[in-house]
């Protein structure tokens, strides 16, 4: 196999060791990462979709919560750069039997991985792990808190698909649904605003408490949120929210918060429709919208691998 030379831009500042959230990432860092993702996307169009960039590195996926899709996406991203991959999956059960997170991590750490991809039901667990290991840590979703690679691929998709994209400045993202429980919403707020865009949050009051993103515009009216938006992101509505009395019924949610063609007509003429998946068709989003011309839902999925390739590359190779 011919080794393919790839020219990957270097972030201006020191490379980031971890991606736990965007607290210490600048817009320029993220821009450089997007440029890297462009190169990775190009690699994935080749006949041989593999480069040796991470040969000799080992990536460990530590999933304390089930997520086949995200784990597959990261593993593909690692292998496409010739990294070795080791996987640990625990549904939280081994921990509830008494082993502490630190003990579990220290056992796994003996495998000498260079980077961990961590998904955990408790907010902050990737931060705890980052304190206890010398490996780099990528947060693949922690509780309600953050899911930074999802936000990266969402913004990357917007940058790629919004007609005549000229930067995030002045671009408004409306996020609709169960904001309270959504790490995707929190990470999108953090990243989108860091990139210079605006965000408006929308959902029924029990799922959009006033303290969530207190300095972010809130509305409980879908029409208000969508008005003039450049992108509308709907979030999956979990059935448990009705069972736990946070909402009256799915029917009432559909009537008030489903994204339909009629509502979408209020958005910017070029507005994109996004969804982090998995979809509840005809609950939070009408099928005709999900499958319609403004939908970039499939692009989001496709962009997951190059974006995550760029994250792994930036953290591992940039570390030196």
């Amino acid at each position: 196999m011919a080794t393919v030379e790839i020219d990957i831009p270097t972030p201006e500042k020191a490379r980031k060791r971890n991606l736990l959230d965007f607290a210490d990432w600048t817009a320029a860092d993220v821009g450089a990462l997007f440029d890297t993702a462009d190169v990775m996307a190009q690699v994935l169009t080749r006949t041989i979709k593999k480069v040796p960039a991470l040969q000799g590195f080992t990536v460990g996926t530590l999933f304390f919560e089930d997520s086949t899709r995200t784990r597959l996406s990261f593993e593909r991203a690692a292998r496409a750069q010739s990294a070795d991959v080791i996987s640990f999956a625990a549904g939280g059960s081994s921990l509830s039997k008494g082993e502490s997170l630190k003990d579990t991590l220290q056992t796994i750490d003996q495998m000498q991985a260079d980077l961990y991809v961590v998904r955990h039901p408790a907010a902050g667990a990737p931060h705890q792990i980052a304190r206890w290991t010398d490996a780099a840590v990528v947060n693949a979703g922690d509780g309600r808190r953050a899911h930074p690679t999802q936000a990266l691929l969402d913004a990357y998709t917007f940058r790629q698909r919004f007609p005549g994209f000229d930067g995030f400045q002045g671009k408004r993202l409306a996020v609709v649904g169960d904001i309270l429980h959504s790490r995707v919403a929190r990470s999108n707020v953090e990243l989108w605003r860091r990139l210079g865009g605006e965000v408006v949050l929308c959902g029924p009051p029990p799922l959009l408490p006033r303290d969530v993103g207190a300095d972010v515009p809130h509305t409980h009216r879908l029409e208000e949120a969508v008005e003039g938006a450049h992108a509308v992101m709907t979030l999956r509505l979990q059935r448990e929210r009705m069972a736990s009395a946070l909402l009256p019924s799915a029917a009432e949610y559909v009537a008030r918060y489903q994204l339909t063609e009629a509502v979408l007509a209020r958005a910017h003429p070029d507005a994109l429709v996004m969804h982090p998946g998995p979809l509840n068709r005809d609950v939070e989003i009408a099928s005709e919208v999900a499958d319609g011309p403004r939908s970039v839902i499939r692009d989001q999925v496709a962009n997951g691998v190059p974006t995550r390739m760029a994250v792994l590359y930036t953290l591992l190779v940039g570390k030196r």
């Binding site: 003990d103 902050g124 705890q128 509780g143 808190r145």
Partner: protein, 436 residues
């Protein structure tokens, strides 16, 4: 040294302070577990077997903690009577009320008697056990209050678990009132609290951690105060954390309801911001609140709205506190640092008079329980502690006598460390290297 072996001890040149006032420099003579003489001439004609030179350090009645989790029986991996009562004495405490949320819970007279019997032989702080309010802390049926009291229980509480059923709380209060027992409440509405692991507010939302709103505490405090008013029972509201809950208590105190309340050292010194580093050491129940709440609690101390400072010393193993924030247990160890912490952060900072702090650890809790106020006077039990107010030392959790060798204040330099604690005239704690 065994307490019984030494019957006559003299503490010389101490600064003598108790709830009756500042008695200036003087000596304290102890014989057979009681104060024999106190004051400038206390040493006259007293043949001491041992003399301690206080060098002007503060000598005051040992503190009373109405709220500590000593974890025995069943959770000895976290703490036991020996380690917990030694830690208490190291913190200047001479009397500790132990909580009943053990394994099994202390809901049977035999368990109470066993704890009392065991503690007596340790020669550390005195143990006054609390007993559970409901069998198994299940919140369904009342325990045998009278039998528990006869066995040595001084307080009834399901602390750790709120009593959800108002009817059960009412019955408990009616029954306890007649026996003269104090009911201590862990006042949080279970539904409003939900699965919250920290204060609900801007910080919890930013951190993505499930929140527990101050309304959960204030609503249940209101119910518990109403039940106290209705029944006439003495209700002690444990660990008040929020401005709203304190305002409710203020309202009921103004009405003359038989309600008293406690705040803890950590709720007076830490806020929900402490969770920003995702360290479960700061996970406590009820949760650390906001700067505004802390300021209000401190104001309540100054205004005399607070009856006692209880530690809510809640030791766990280090491994349990190295779980994630959803599964790590609530609680932190603090009994050894409570006084130095509050002396340094409140008294030295000019926010509270030393006399007020001492009252909240001595006469305050005694009054809550209906016990005589502790005094440095002839005939009184020789339960005293000698405090080095000027010495500054760092908090060193690895040297705690508690089994829980971690602390939110590790490394913090504090003043006011206890040097010597006597219980019934015998040293229950003596700092290593302290000059005798």
């Amino acid at each position: 040294m065994s307490g019984q072996a030494m019957r006559r001890l003299l503490i010389r040149d101490a600064h003598l302070v108790d709830g009756a006032g500042d008695h200036g420099r003087g000596d304290l003579a102890v014989q057979d577990g009681r104060v024999a003489a106190v004051g400038a001439d206390a040493a006259d004609g007293f043949e001491a077997e041992r003399t301690v030179d206080a060098g002007g350090a503060l000598l005051t009645p040992a503190f009373i903690d109405l709220h500590a989790h000593l974890r025995e029986p069943g959770q000895e991996v976290k703490e036991d009577l020996a380690s917990g009562l030694a830690a208490a004495a190291a913190g200047g405490f001479g009397t500790v009320v132990s909580m009943a949320n053990t394994t099994p819970p202390v809901d049977e007279p035999g368990l109470v008697a066993e704890l009392v019997h065991k503690a007596e032989r340790l020669g550390r702080a005195r143990l006054r056990p609390a007993a559970a309010l409901s069998h198994g802390l299940a919140g369904e049926t009342l325990t045998d209050f009278a039998a528990l009291q006869s066995a040595g229980a001084v307080m009834i509480t399901d602390d750790g678990v709120p009593v959800a059923d108002g009817r059960l709380m009412r019955s408990a209060c009616e029954y306890a009132a007649e026996l003269g027992l104090v009911i201590q409440t862990h006042s949080e509405d279970p539904g409003l609290r939900g699965a919250g692991v920290m204060h609900e507010g801007l910080v919890s939302q930013a951190l993505g951690l499930p929140g527990n709103p101050d309304a959960a505490e204030a609503a249940m405090v209101f119910r518990d105060c109403e039940v106290a008013r209705l029944t006439g029972a003495r209700v002690h509201i444990a660990h008040v954390t929020s401005k709203r809950a304190m305002q409710v208590i203020e309202h009921f105190k103004a009405l003359g309801a038989p309600v008293t309340c406690e705040v803890t050292p950590h709720h007076l010194t830490l806020t929900d911001q402490a969770l920003a580093g995702f360290d479960p050491v700061f996970k406590v129940a009820p949760p650390l609140r906001t700067t505004e709440d802390v300021a209000y609690l401190r104001e309540a101390l100054r205004r005399g709205l607070v009856d006692s400072i209880g530690t809510d010393h809640a030791p766990h193993t280090r491994a349990e506190k190295e779980r994630d924030l959803l599964t790590a247990p609530f609680g932190l160890p603090n009994i050894e640092v409570a006084f130095p912490l509050l002396y340094s952060e409140l008294v030295l900072a000019g926010e509270l008079e030393l006399g007020d702090l001492l009252r909240l650890l001595q006469d305050g809790p005694a009054v809550v329980m209906g016990w005589p106020a502790p005094r440095l006077e002839p005939g009184a039990a020789a339960d005293v502690t000698l405090l080095d107010l000027d010495a500054e030392r760092a908090v060193e959790p690895q040297r705690f006598l508690s089994k829980a060798k971690f602390s939110p204040w590790a490394g913090r330099r504090l003043h006011g460390w206890p040097r010597l604690t006597l219980v019934a005239g015998a040293p229950a704690y003596e700092r290593e290297g302290a000059a005798a």
